[in-house]
């Protein structure tokens, strides 16, 4: 064991924690015990030292095992003998020194006594119950301390308890110690006749100091150079004075133009009152909604509250926050001058002629043609206006009498009918029907018998040419029961056909086979000669629909985004119209031939004035959903558009002969009636050839007539 450790007494008992543990006491304890004599004597020579070491403490700190040390200590305090502490009679001390006693926890003993014998642990440790019983029963429990080093309990004597009390109070351990003894000067303050030393004065005490001179000269130099400045005089201007005594209203800052003054704080409304009217208080649901909202989304930044009296109003917890946010707004928030539009909304609405003045146009639904069982893709009216043909996904073509709504004929065909077209020539009674990859020419046998028979004659009068040319389409004449049904000619195409369209004269027929990969997309057939030709050599994109010019030899081809106008005689491209649409769905040509409308799947209808520009003259966004069909009226200045939102919108589209006057477009009626089935509404619209009536076919398997 280290020698120092021997000096340590059972620490916790004698040195209670706190200010009692004086550093001088420690100093004494740390004195090496090997040379106790001189060190102790030297520390105790001076008086202050004896004051610092309360003798009681010193005594207690002395290990009883070193009698010589005790003796020395007694000797220092000879003048004031103090009562020797009562040491426990059998003072068996552990010699292991100041080590953590946990080191011995695995052993039966906890160290060695002075004779080198093992000190054994008690056989049984006290558990908490023992402790408790002891506490209850032992009257001396309060003065019993556990000594870790010997693993035994020590009962403190009365003197020791007194001592502990005194030390706890911060008093000296010794009762008789007087801490306020009169001081004795170390040197006397009286002037003696004999000096203490008789040494002559140094020379340096009466010649000027060089070091000081150097320092002063440095300072002088610094002052000369202006490095050290004299103290600034205190400011004498008052803190506040009349700052605007000479105010100059014309002093405009350089940036004045761009200055945006901060908006003032919003003034509080009734809901902020401490006692608001009851309608401003939130209901339970509103309160819940308010609490669940994000702080930014809340319309009111606080909950309106009602207090019965002013006394009951608490402090607003977010007051500092709000002030801080205002500060942040003032210096961090980008400012911008916004012009408040002070405009009457009525003035924004364009002044258009009244729809009443633009009559006639269809206003009410008058007939519903019921019979189809699936969506009706296409309809077409006969040139006389007496009949209507419709093709549906239920693989039938139906012929209707327009005025009565009666289904005159139903023809089964071999597939869902994509498109039907009635020959516009009134002298011919032919209907083109397309399904799958077949185009069928039907003679419905309706109307004037003369016309019907002349049509049949026209078809049978065909004489095949001498040299057979290879054609893209096979023409076949129908016979037998099919002939009785009305089938006349069957044109078998190489690919699925989407649309058929007649030329105005009624001899030519165009069919569309949309295909992105080949140039064989559009075919033009001549019925009288049973000839077919492919007008295009190149593929210019997926063809959506085609149309013939009503008067001149022009051919319109609509691809996804553009409409190309070809001159059929010169065989060249004359115009390319940019529709600004994503995907064209339908197209119609004005009977005058100079205007064109395009419906698109992105809800737009583009009106082109071909004389004006290749860009749309007007873009109409009337429909909410994709447009499926558009149509012009033959005589009246009307056009219609049908869309997936189930409505047909009739617009007045007047085209003037004067080239300088732009067409006038006025929406006149929104016709509703079709039910929306599978997100599809109106699929096709067409006008009656003579009356201001419009037919629409829809996904709800009906055809409707609006008059």
């Amino acid at each position: 064991a280290r020698p120092g450790s021997v000096l340590h007494p059972p620490g916790p008992v004698l040195h209670p924690p706190g200010p009692v543990l004086h550093p001088p006491g420690q100093a004494l304890l740390c004195t090496p015990p090997t040379r106790p004599g001189p060190a102790l004597y030297s520390t105790h020579q001076a008086r202050p030292c004896s004051v610092l070491h309360p003798p009681g403490q010193a005594l207690l700190c002395t290990p009883p095992t070193r009698p010589d040390l005790v003796l020395h200590l007694y000797s220092t305090h000879q003048a004031r003998p103090c009562t020797p502490p009562a040491l426990p009679s059998q003072d068996i001390r552990n010699t292991v020194g100041n080590i953590p006693m946990e080191w011995y926890q695995d052993y039966p003993h906890i160290g060695y006594n002075l004779d080198g014998k093992k000190i054994f642990k008690p056989i049984r440790n006290k558990d908490e119950l023992d402790e408790f019983l002891d506490k209850m029963e032992n009257p001396d429990y309060w003065r019993t301390v556990h000594d870790k080093t010997t693993a035994s309990d020590i009962r403190l004597s009365d003197e020791q308890v007194d001592l502990v009390h005194r030390l706890q109070k911060g008093q000296f351990g010794d009762v008789n110690f007087n801490e306020y003894e009169p001081s004795v000067d170390f040197f006397t303050n009286e002037v003696m006749i004999h000096p203490v030393t008789n040494r002559p004065q140094d020379k340096r005490s009466f010649i000027p100091s060089l070091i000081e001179k150097e320092k002063v000269s440095k300072l002088v130099h610094a002052i000369k150079m202006g490095w050290i400045k004299p103290r600034k005089p205190k400011e004498t201007t008052p803190q506040y004075y009349d700052l605007w005594a000479k105010e100059d209203p014309n002093a405009i800052l350089g940036r004045h133009k761009m200055h945006v003054p901060a908006p003032k704080m919003r003034l509080p409304g009734h809901e902020e009152s401490y006692n608001p009217p009851p309608e401003y208080l939130l209901t339970e649901e509103e309160r819940m909604a308010w609490e669940q909202q994000d702080a930014e989304d809340r319309k009111l930044p606080f909950l309106p509250q009602k207090h019965s009296c002013l006394r009951a109003v608490p402090a607003f917890s977010r007051f500092i926050h709000e002030r801080f946010e205002r500060c942040l707004d003032l210096y961090l928030c980008p400012r911008q001058r916004k012009m408040r539009v002070n405009v009457n909304p009525e003035d924004l609405i364009p002044k258009l002629p009244k729809p009443k003045d633009l009559q006639p146009f269809p206003t009410t639904m008058s007939l519903v043609y019921i019979g189809h069982s699936s969506l009706v893709r296409s309809i077409s009216a006969s040139p006389t206006g007496q009949w209507l043909v419709s093709g549906s996904d239920d693989c039938t073509v139906r012929f209707w009498e327009v005025n009565t709504g009666r289904c005159m004929k139903t023809l089964e065909v071999g597939g869902a009918v994509k498109s039907v077209a009635w020959n516009p020539n009134p002298a011919v009674c032919l209907v083109a029907v397309c399904f799958e990859s077949t185009v069928l020419l039907l003679n419905p046998g309706l109307g004037d018998r003369l016309v019907v028979s002349s049509t049949d004659q026209l078809i049978t009068s065909y004489e095949p040419p001498e040299e057979d040319k290879e054609q893209a389409v096979t023409w076949a004449l129908s016979e037998g029961p099919e002939h009785d049904n009305g089938h006349r000619l069957t044109l078998t195409h190489p690919k699925a056909v989407k649309q058929v369209v007649w030329h105005g004269k009624g001899d030519y027929l165009a069919s569309v086979m949309p295909d992105n990969s080949s140039n064989l997309q559009v075919l033009i057939h001549q019925v009288s000669k049973r000839r077919t030709q492919n007008p295009f050599r190149k593929n210019k994109g997926l063809v959506q629909c085609v149309s013939f010019h009503p008067l001149r030899p022009y051919f319109f081809v609509a691809t996804q985004r553009y409409v190309r106008v070809y001159n059929l005689i010169k065989q060249e491209l004359t115009k390319k119209l940019m529709t600004n649409c994503k995907w064209i769905s339908s197209m119609a040509i004005h009977p005058g031939g100079d205007n064109l409308i395009c419906g698109s799947y992105d809800c737009r209808l583009a009106w082109f004035d071909l004389d004006l520009s290749t860009k749309p003259y007007k873009m109409l966004r009337h429909h909410k959903k994709a447009l499926r069909g558009v149509a012009y009226h033959k005589h009246y200045p009307l056009f219609a558009s049908g869309a997936d939102d189930g409505s047909v919108i009739i617009c007045h589209g007047m085209v003037y002969n004067d080239l300088l006057q732009n067409p006038l477009i006025v929406p006149v009626k929104v016709l509703k009636g079709h039910q929306i089935t599978h997100d599809l509404g109106v699929l096709d619209v067409t006008f009656h050839p003579t009356q201001p009536w419009v037919f629409s076919s829809g996904a709800d398997a009906t055809i409707r007539l609006f008059t």
Binding site: L253, M265, Y280, P304, F319, L348, I349, L352
Partner: protein, 564 residues
């Protein structure tokens, strides 16, 4: 021929703006210093008109400062002071480290400081400009003056704020310029009209603040530094306009009255003087001793036609104003200890009342509860033991409501223990008028349902608009059901129907016309129109929800006034 190709983003708006970081680099300041400078100089970011152009084609969210603003900051002398201060701190730290106490003392003596006077002058070239911008300064100073003297900011700042706010309140009392007051759940709003400017400020309730942790007090302190400077100069000028001594001094007469018996024990002289000032119960000393300010009459000018009308209106307004200023004149109030003394004393004194309170509550009370001449005692407890018969015991809301109504309201509604009428915001009178109109229309619509069309149209456009909207909605719903209802060959209703049907059909037609016209609107105009209509619809909806709340009964000060 063409010359060099123009590069993008080298002219125009891209060069007029600068991002924050670039600005900071240009000024060579740390972020904290830059922030301080921006606050003091009133520099704020601008939102460019074409953000993408300014952002050089990128759409990243950035804040932009005007380049001119930043250039303007370059010449600011305060920037140098910031740097000097930084150097000072460094030197001081070094001196401390080396334990050179003389150096520390010398450095302390020469501590660099800065003044904001020139900045205030620059930001507000005229006094009115400054006065217009004082709202925030007032609210901030009132907040800071309620802070505890420990912790969040310098004690000097707090005392300065307190001093300035007391000066301001004294000014408002002397000039009688308070107009509106409002007790909200946040605090008490005051609105005063000073030299023709409406100034609103908010004073928190007198409670200890529970200081939030997510607030940067440095920012607030910088703002307060600027605001106290501005506020002090404004106070000085305002006191000058009223011929008052600045810093304020109590009237010598009042001072002797306020002398408490044991004043020596109470506090230090300067402190007790400050408290006497803040008690607001005495008038201030003037530079030129005049009895009371003489009423300045409006001079009569020869005028005709419109001018005459204007002048009459002005005269009337002035008279009303004077009447309001004398609202509580001749009344003697006593404040019980549970009412907020400062705010009530302030308001009552602003309108010419005499006011006092318990001696133990605050210094400056001029008379006791036992004074027989007291007319009103303001009490905020359900009941009071000893009541004098010759005075009214009222709740504090009476004072606030009376001020807002510009007349002494009947006291019956505000007696002790009475359920108080709702306290309404005086700042939202316009809204109140709208609500009244709205109610009228609703009744009319009810009539509509009874098929009794009375044709007196409401002038208000909003209201007719709302009606139209409702009509349109009805129609739309009719349109939806059309498919079911309409059968071919139906007789036109106006041919057989009654007059009512005819009128209705006409209206429907008009609405349809409008709808079709709306379809033809240009995109831009449509957007604007939709926005306007949305706003209108929202207001009408809000108003109608307020009306539809079950216990809606609006009691307005105006109606109460009629009762008198």
């Amino acid at each position: 021929m063409g010359g060099l190709q123009k590069k993008k983003y080298e002219r125009g708006s891209a060069t007029n703006y600068i991002t924050r970081n670039k600005a900071r680099k240009k000024l060579q300041l740390s972020l904290a210093d830059f922030r301080r400078l921006c606050i003091l100089k009133g520099i704020y970011p601008h939102e460019p008109k074409h953000k993408k152009k300014v952002n050089k084609g990128s759409t990243a969210p950035r804040t932009f400062y005007l380049l001119k603003d930043i250039r303007f900051l370059l010449h600011e002398p305060i920037v140098r002071k910031f740097r000097e201060y930084k150097v000072f701190v460094r030197k001081l730290r070094k001196a401390y480290g080396k334990a050179e106490w003389t150096a520390v003392e010398r450095l302390r003596d020469n501590k660099p400081g800065y003044k904001l006077d020139h900045i205030i002058k620059e930001r507000y070239p005229t006094f009115i400009d400054a006065l217009r911008d004082i709202d925030d300064a007032l609210s901030m100073c009132f907040l800071f003056s309620t802070f505890a003297r420990t912790g969040k900011c310098h004690v000097q700042t707090i005392t300065l704020c307190r001093r300035l706010t007391v000066e301001w309140m004294n000014y408002v009392v002397t000039s009688r310029s308070l107009r509106k007051v409002f007790i909200s759940i946040k605090g008490i709003y005051y609105q005063a009209e000073v030299l023709g400017q409406l100034i609103t400020w908010l004073v928190p309730y007198q409670f200890a603040h529970d200081h939030p942790t997510d607030v940067d007090y440095r920012v607030m302190a910088t703002f307060t530094e600027m605001y106290t400077t501005l506020f002090g100069f404004i106070n000085f000028r305002l006191y000058q306009t009223l011929n008052l001594v600045y810093p304020p001094k109590l009237n010598s007469k009042a001072e002797s009255e306020l002398k408490a018996e044991h004043e020596e024990d109470y506090a230090m002289d300067s402190e007790s003087y400050m408290e006497k000032l803040s008690a607001l119960s005495a008038s201030l000393a003037r530079v030129v001793a005049t009895a009371e300010e003489e009423e300045n009459q409006l001079d009569q000018f020869p005028a005709d036609g419109e001018d005459l009308e204007n002048m009459e209106a002005r005269e009337k307004e002035q008279k009303e104003q004077e009447a309001q200023n004398r609202l509580f004149e001749g009344l003697k109030f006593f404040l019980n200890r549970e009412v907020p003394r400062e705010s009530l004393a302030f308001i009552l004194r602003c309108f010419g009342a005499e006011v006092s309170w318990d001696k133990s509550l605050c210094i400056g009370g001029t008379y006791d509860v036992t004074d027989e001449t007291i007319t009103h005692q303001i009490v905020d407890r359900p009941d009071i033991d000893k009541q004098y018969i010759n005075r009214y015991y009222i709740q504090p809301q009476w004072v606030f409501d009376s001020v807002n109504a510009k007349m002494r309201l009947p006291v019956e509604d505000y007696f002790l223990g009475v359920t108080l009428p709702p306290h309404l915001s005086p700042f939202k009178l316009k809204l109140m008028a709208l609500q009244r109109g709205e109610k009228h229309v609703q009744e009319e619509e009810d009539d509509d349902d009874d098929e009794e069309e009375d044709n007196d149209e409401v002038d208000d456009e909003d209201l007719t608009e709302e009606k139209n909207l409702k009509k349109m909605k009805d129609q739309r719903s009719q349109g939806k059901t059309l498919a079911v209802k309409v059968t071919p060959g139906k007789v036109k209703p106006w041919e057989t129907g009654s007059v009512v049907n005819k009128v209705r059909l006409e209206k429907e037609e008009k609405a349809e016309e409008k709808r079709l016209a709306i379809m033809m609107m240009k995109k831009k105009e449509k957007y604007l129109y939709d926005k306007i209509m949305f706003g209108k619809k929202r207001t009408t909806r809000e108003v109608s929800t307020l009306h539809s709340t079950p216990h809606a009964q609006i009691k307005q000060p105006a109606t109460q006034a009629q009762k008198i």
